[in-house]
């Protein structure tokens, strides 16, 4: 049993315009001491997945179906009183937007010591000491003075580090880091990442690292999941995802990375087209309108996750096609899978995954 097991999670926002299907059947496991990276398009549901785990969705959002188990305990519909014992203590989050998650009318010190008092059994004096210690650990100078300042008096990166200090101060089992280092320069980023890795090793803390920074993903993650339009389109080890991307979206993502070694300033190659409208999800592959290799079958149904390598799954009809060409997957004329050679290196995942 993994520490955290998310199965077929569906989360929607019920807006006046209709149901925005932000998360569409996401599954993953997280073991203690591991780092899971989540990458994917902006708006693909990474943050909403994280908020669902903690059940801190804002109105009109709610979990529609699925299961989230923490150490075997079901969290979906567990109720506020249970969630309150989980949030901050067991699972804590570094929010993507440090300004809205820090209260502008309280000082940094106030908020930090409050959080520590709430989630640990330290007394007031110890909590303050811990606050100073944590600020030092995240590289904030003169922590005693900073404790007296208000959020607007700090730079973007400092606010983010205060958030990080707050999340780590309570020594959680799982840290969800939603874009924790985007506002940080690379030297401080390196310092924070090292701090996280340190806690991960010392305390067996697991990390869900949500980030657009593929450099961070490459250097930190054991496993990576790639999301598109609320679903997992590919998952595997960092090496598998970076060196052998299998899903057409992931391939496009990898092509868009600017290279620091490029002196010629070649024009970047983004994925063309616009993101899918989550109000009107197509029956087929949500990436089809932007995919250069889209086939007929892509418009009618979603591909299941198939194994494309060791520890590497991808949900793309291209992979099914390649599998059938190699004779490890058999399909009917509609392209639907009818048989799979489980001895070959391709099989439909038993996990269910994102495919429906």
């Amino acid at each position: 049993m993994a520490m955290l097991e998310v199965r077929d999670l569906h989360t929607s926002f019920f807006t006046p315009a209709g149901e925005v299907k932000a998360v569409n059947g996401v599954s993953f496991n997280l073991d203690s001491g591991k780092v899971l990276g989540i990458v994917g398009e902006s708006g693909s549901g990474k943050s909403v997945t994280a908020y669902s785990v903690l059940q801190i969705l804002t109105h009109p959002g709610r979990i529609v179906s699925g299961s989230i188990k923490f150490n075997g305990q079901e969290l979906v519909d567990a109720g506020e009183s249970v969630m309150r014992t989980i949030r901050g203590n067991k699972i804590s989050i570094i929010f993507q937007d440090p300004m809205t998650s820090l209260n502008p009318v309280y000082t940094i010190g106030n908020q930090l010591t409050e959080a520590i008092l709430l989630h640990t059994d330290r007394n007031k004096e110890q909590a303050k000491q811990r606050a100073v210690e944590m600020l030092e650990l995240v590289g904030i100078n003169e922590p005693e003075k900073r404790l007296r300042q208000y959020p607007y008096e700090l730079s973007g990166g400092m606010r983010q580090r205060v958030m990080i200090a707050m999340a780590l101060a309570c020594e959680p089992d799982i840290l969800i880091a939603d874009e924790p280092t985007t506002a940080l320069d690379v030297t401080i980023q390196a310092q924070i990442l090292e701090l996280m890795q340190d806690l991960q090793k010392k305390l067996g803390m697991a990390i869900i690292m949500i980030t657009h920074d593929l450099g961070v993903i490459a250097s930190l993650c054991d496993e990576v999941i790639v999301m598109y339009a609320g679903s997992v389109c590919e998952r595997g080890t960092a090496d598998a995802i970076f060196y052998h991307p299998a899903h057409e979206y992931t391939k496009g993502l990898m092509r868009s990375i600017p290279s620091i070694d490029d002196d010629e300033r070649e024009r970047l190659v983004p994925i063309t087209g616009t993101p899918i409208d989550l109000l009107n999800m197509p029956a087929g592959c949500p990436f089809a309108p932007r995919c250069d290799n889209a086939m007929k079958v892509c418009l009618t149904g979603r591909a299941k996750e198939v194994r494309v390598g060791r520890d590497h799954l991808s949900a793309c009809w291209m992979n099914v096609k390649e599998g059938s060409e190699r004779g490890v997957i058999r399909t009917d004329e509609e392209g639907q899978i009818t048989a799979i050679d489980l001895e070959g290196n391709m099989d439909v995942t038993a996990e269910g995954g994102s495919a429906q």
Binding site: F13, A17, E41, S42, G43, Q96, D97, M99, T100, I140, N141, E142, K145, R148, E153, S155, G156, G157, Q160, R161, E179, T182, A183, L184, D185, V186, T187, I188, Q189, A190, Q191, E194, H212, D213, L214, G215, V216, I217, A218, S219, A238, D239, F242, Y243, G252, L253, S256, I257, P258, I260, D262, D263, R267, L268, V269, P270, I271, T274, P275, D277
Partner: protein, 319 residues
């Protein structure tokens, strides 16, 4: 018409900080910074978190009143007489896509606001067409324009902020971390968009970002800041290949590469020593508390920018 669109001379921005009962200490967020930006040029600005990059951006736009120094735009000193015109021609895309968008306005009205303020349309129809065009430029669809900012993801909000900055057809834009909230594909789209707009309209940018690959890609020249000072400035490739300042060198060594094998093998120079506080600046060179090359001289006087190669300046005593 002068060659430089923007000229910043000896700019200082000090914030008064409460340090006790009725006592304030100046926090020297920006301390004597000078640079120029040519027409159609992009100057990249990088440096440690809290070193004053956003403050430079905001102060040159006079969103903060400069403590000292001058900003000269298109040959004219920015002051009370010129500020209104300057505000239209110089815009900013903010670092924080969350707090910088008014939560009470629809996306269409957020983007329309600068049009209203500067009266840039003749009819309602023209206004909405322009809004549609602007949102289209940044890839937000027309169905989404009646929604509110909180209904969008981080990256989508950032693009709304960019559309708003473009609305008054500015000539100069301070881009304060405009792509750090975006995924690499949309980041590539937005960077291409910035480059196209630049080519089309001759726009100039001050481009603040942490991602050095992005900065190197988009900038003609790059300035490196440390604790309120510019410590090195050079043409982009020159800076990347021939950085001389010890801080720049450590910065470049810490760039995370999107390649697992190289990431595992990379040798980061992790800076030792405390990050000094802008409230208590070290004497002499601001970097000396963490510099491996520091000597006695570094504590005595602050090194000035000096040319080390044509167009390449650095501020260090021990090069």
């Amino acid at each position: 018409m002068s060659e430089n669109l923007l000229e910043v001379k000896n700019l200082k921005e000090y914030f008064p900080i409460n340090t006790g009962f009725l006592r304030t200490t100046p926090l020297k967020a920006v301390d004597d910074v000078s640079f120029t930006i040519g027409r159609g040029e992009t100057l990249g600005l990088v440096g440690e978190s809290g070193c004053g990059k956003s403050t430079v951006g905001r102060t040159i736009l006079h969103l903060y009143k400069p403590t000292a120094g001058q900003v000269i735009f298109d040959g004219k000193l920015v002051g009370p007489d010129t500020i209104k015109e300057y505000r239209r021609r110089a815009q900013i895309v903010f670092q924080d896509p969350y707090s910088s968008l008014n939560p009470r306005l629809t996306v269409a009205d957020i983007v329309g606001e600068p049009l209203d303020v500067n009266k840039l349309y003749k009819s309602k129809k023209e206004r909405s067409e322009r809004i549609l065009e602007l949102l289209g430029t940044v890839g937000i669809s027309s169905e989404q324009m009646t929604r509110y900012a909180h209904e969008f993801s981080g990256g989508q909000r950032q693009r709304i902020g960019i559309a708003r900055a473009l609305a008054s057809r500015p000539e100069f834009i301070v881009c304060d971390e405009p792509v750090s909230a975006l995924d690499v594909s949309i980041q590539a789209q937005v960077i291409n968009m910035f480059e196209d707009l630049q080519r089309q309209f001759g726009l100039s940018y001050l481009f603040i970002a942490h991602d050095l690959s992005v900065v190197k890609h988009i900038s003609n020249r790059i300035a490196v800041m440390y604790l309120g000072h510019i410590v090195e400035i050079a043409e982009a490739n020159e800076l990347y290949h021939h950085a001389v300042h010890p801080y720049t060198i450590s910065l470049l060594s810490a760039v995370p590469v999107p390649d697992p094998e190289r990431a595992r093998a990379s040798q980061r120079i992790v800076l030792e020593g405390d990050v000094p506080s802008p409230l208590h600046m070290p004497s002499g060179c601001p970097f000396r508390t963490r510099c491996s090359r520091a000597t006695d001289k570094c504590a005595e006087s602050c090194p000035q920018l000096a040319e080390v190669a044509p167009g390449h300046m650095a501020a260090c005593h021990n090069l």
